[in-house]
Amino acid sequence: MNSATNETPLKKVCIICAKGNIEDVYATLVLANGAVMEGIEAKVFFTFFGLDAITKNQMKKIHTGTVGNPAMRMPGGLPFPSILGMLPGVEAGVSAMMKSQMDKLDIPPVDEFLEMITAGGGEVYACKLAMDMFKLEEKDLWEGCSGVLTVGDFYGMCGGENTQIIFT
């Protein structure tokens, strides 16, 4: 679409990520990076399990759930029996497979993706309440994180015309 024909183009997106599996974290990262690539301001707020994506010890280890995921299929499209997903190593194997597929599409690992977003001027924040809940401190977070916010602080950043809040 030609953005020139769009009367009121989007100026800012505020994206909230509360889950720590591959699909939710990557949805957040793709949306945020896509925004900065289009010249749209992006603020990303990681909370609850989403904090894994910006926690040094966890960010390289995110997985996709293989149990209770009806969209899960075998390579080739056959159904994936839930009981298989419970076996040790299956979740790790499936996650590794997904990551290798993403790598082929030039989708970077989480840490590199976050760097791409901040290189483009996007900002990454952690939720104070969830940090307290998980007993995390600022030193546990990825270095590029701009700070720890309360929900009120976050809303304070979400003002302005043509701003959208997106909850992945």
């Binding site: 030609n2 020139a4 793709v30 990076n33 896509g34 900065v36 690539m37 289009e38 010249g39 599409l105 030039d106 989708i107 970077p108 590199e112 760097e115 791409m116 290189a119 483009g120 001027g121």
Partner: protein, 103 residues
């Protein structure tokens, strides 16, 4: 398909102003398209443009990440060179199609 005269040369462009034929591209056209966007081209810009044109001709799927690994500039540098559109503006100025890339 629309025609447009850029830097004294009549070329075919799409609805968004991207050149239809990368072979129509000249440095003068690049300067004029960049001027419309509000970017003043430097030698560094041309290095990126040359890279994009070469990779496009080779059939590479271009992305911000790939340009960031080109050795010409990093991603931050690319954003500084082409503010608000590291991939879409650089491609437009380079006379290649808008990359259908989400990364």
């Amino acid at each position: 398909m629309a025609q447009k005269t850029i830097a004294g040369k009549t070329v075919e462009v799409n609805a968004e102003g991207y050149l239809e034929n990368p072979s129509d591209w000249t440095k003068e056209i690049a300067v004029e398209i960049a001027d419309e966007i509000g970017i003043r081209l430097t030698d560094k810009h041309f290095e990126v443009l040359d890279y994009l044109r070469k990779e496009h001709a080779a059939g590479t799927q271009l992305s911000v990440r790939r340009v960031g690994k080109s050795g010409i500039t990093d991603i931050k540098g690319l954003y500084e060179l082409f503010p608000g559109g590291p991939l879409k503006y650089s491609s437009k100025i380079a006379g290649i199609p808008k990359p259908a890339s989400c990364v």
